[in-house]
């Protein structure tokens, strides 16, 4: 096989896996948007906050230690213990559920029936608040996150492809585990929303708030539920991105990567978020590989947005956007 083709295949595979990570972030947006019509600007910061909390708990960090030390003149930073990854993940999920509940009770319960733009503004406020709050709680230094996922080049793929084509593919183990986790997560979400009572209620709320109220579904409960699930998805995205590039402020910017994915896949579709993520992941890597050298590189930053722009012109509801049902 010619080298160029082999390189392209390798780039595509890596693009697919990057796409999975984009899809994970986009998924959090879709969940909340579908159920409550809120475009949650804070989704990226939620991923950052979840990752910070996870690292903090694992390392036995004392929350608000800077604040406590400043007020009481103490010098405490660590409890001096380490929590195993799985236990820390469960604790972090609990924190995200409490967060979801607080968001509902303190913010969105008071904004029922308000304009979408107002709700959007509220999430912007929430994003900046949470960013500062995360810093205050866990400190603003860059942290390393290691939950025990395998990292580095996958030797088996390298060896097999080398034997077959004379060129070893570079595939990161972390990307492979991210893909597996994402597949499990999505399968779980689909089973939850299609086959459980609460999942059905969630879809009912997404369709018609008033009717859902009339049959006795509590909107508050459903919204807390959906923010909790979005918090969980944010945690998974935070773990994957955090393990890849460290837990730091720039983690919250992954939300910007999710935006074109949403435009491509549609704001209301879970499969759309996934396919959109994959298309953008592969698209930007291949574009960089094929066209990048001609225009001086660095196309990855803008390619996704140009693609999204084209979609806005020709198919504004996205690939899988909610079909508006019209009977003829």
């Amino acid at each position: 096989m010619p080298d160029q083709l082999l390189f392209a295949i390798e780039v595509t595979l890596n693009g697919l896996m990057a796409g999975v990570l984009y899809a994970l972030v986009a998924l959090g947006f879709v969940l909340i948007y579908k159920a409550s019509g809120i475009f949650n600007y804070a989704q990226g910061v939620m991923a950052l906050f979840a990752a910070l909390t996870l690292v903090g708990i694992m390392e036995g960090q004392v929350p608000f230690s800077h604040l406590i030390n400043a007020i009481f003149g103490t010098e405490i930073h660590h409890f001096g213990w380490h929590v195993p990854a799985l236990a820390a993940i469960i604790l972090t999920i609990a924190v995200m559920v409490v967060f979801a509940w607080l968001v509902q009770v303190l913010i969105f319960r008071h904004l029922v029936n308000q304009e979408p733009i107002l709700l959007f503004m509220a999430t912007i406020g929430l994003a900046y608040f949470l960013e500062g709050f995360g810093d205050l709680m866990w400190g603003s230094d860059i942290k390393k996150l290691d939950v025990g996922l395998p990292q580095g080049i996958n030797g088996w793929i390298d060896q097999t492809t080398f034997d077959a084509f004379g060129y070893g593919f570079f595939i990161d183990n972390l990307d492979i585990s991210a893909t597996i986790v994402a597949i499990i997560l999505v399968a779980g979400l689909i089973i939850f929303s299609q086959y459980t009572k609460q999942g059905r209620a969630l879809r009912a709320v997404a369709d018609d708030h008033q009717a859902a109220l009339s049959v006795g579904i509590s909107l508050n409960f459903i919204w807390v539920l959906v923010w909790s699930v979005a918090g969980f998805v944010a945690l998974v995205a935070g773990i994957m991105w955090g393990a890849k590039s460290g837990v730091q402020f720039s983690l919250s910017l992954i939300a910007l990567k999710a935006l074109p994915v949403l435009m491509l896949g549609g704001f209301t579709s879970i499969p759309g978020a996934i396919v959109g993520g994959l298309i953008i992941g592969v698209g930007e890597k291949l574009f960089e590989f094929l066209i990048g050298p001609m225009v001086g590189g660095a196309t990855e930053n803008w390619f996704a947005y140009v693609l999204a722009l084209l979609f806005l012109v020709f198919r504004p509801q996205g690939l899988f956007g909610e079909k508006i049902i019209e009977r003829v």
Binding site: R200, D207, L213, V215, G216, I325
Partner: protein
């Protein structure tokens, strides 16, 4: 005014002189009082904007989510005040509303729509499945369409889905808002026939808001007529049907036979000015 209810019938729901204000400014109900008898079909009649829907929503407590508020008077169900309860609490107590315009969950299948009606129930899957079969026996058409998305079914099927969904909560009282809206006369008859059937066989009480006075009075036991937020007349359905004013204003017939719509309206206006 005719005497309110028969002495031997128990009052299920009693509304006492309620006032409803939307958005803190718009006064919609200006003192409505009515009673719903146990095991009966009570009709709430009147034109557009008379306050029928608002009355139903005040009972089911759906008003709050539309920025409406009961500012005066009281609503009691089985003798207990229900102000300030959640719609979900009302459903658990056996009062469920079927909203005007059906409001099916468009992207859910017909069967999933029906199952959402059982959301508040805690009595196990077996009983719920039995009730699902029962709903299908009242609405055989829904069984044929059980796997289609509700948004793609016809208006009549959607109305049936909405009523069936309410039935899945095992209600005592259904607040049925404008079931005839946008349906062909034949379908209206069919739906009202089923309502009558449910009332007689399942013992479900109905409070029925309807513009179609003619049909409603044929199936109801008792009727109230609302006009701009006030009850202007009430009585047993049979008597209301024979009442000359009701005939004139709501059924469109008078001593001189059927009048054209235009005449009726101008007459109505004149009469209101005079009174």
């Amino acid at each position: 005014m005719l005497d309110t209810t028969d002495a031997d019938q128990k009052t299920l729901l009693e509304i006492n002189n309620i006032e409803v204000i939307y958005n803190h400014v718009i006064l919609v109900l200006k003192g409505v009082s009515l009673k719903v008898a146990e095991g009966g079909i009570t009709a709430l009649l009147g034109g557009n904007g008379a306050g029928k829907t608002t009355t139903l929503k005040a009972i089911s407590n759906l008003l709050h989510s539309e920025r409406g508020e009961v500012t005066k008077g009281s609503i009691a169900y089985r003798g207990q005040k229900v102000a300030g309860l959640d719609p979900a609490d009302m459903v658990r107590r056996g009062v469920i509303q079927v909203m005007e315009g059906r409001h099916c969950f468009e992207h859910l299948t017909v069967e999933e729509n029906l199952m959402t009606g059982a959301y508040t129930r805690r009595d196990g899957k077996g009983v719920v499945d039995e009730d699902l079969e029962k709903v299908y026996s009242y609405f055989p058409r829904l069984k044929e369409r059980r796997k289609s998305q509700a948004g793609y079914t016809s208006g009549g099927e959607q109305q049936m889905t909405a009523i069936g969904r309410a039935l899945m909560s095992r209600p005592e009282t259904i607040l049925l808002d404008e079931p005839s809206m946008g349906l062909a006369p034949q379908l209206v008859e069919e739906i009202f026939g089923i309502v009558k059937n449910l009332n007689e066989k399942e013992g479900v009480s109905f409070l029925l808001a309807e513009q179609n006075t003619n049909v409603a009075l044929r199936f109801a036991h008792y009727g109230y007529i609302l006009e701009s937020g006030r009850v202007v007349m009430d009585g047993p359905a049979a008597e209301l049907r024979e009442n000359p004013d009701v005939k004139e204003f709501y059924l469109g017939v008078s001593e001189e036979g059927r009048k054209s719509f235009r005449d009726v309206r101008s007459y109505r206006r004149r009469k209101r000015w005079l009174s």
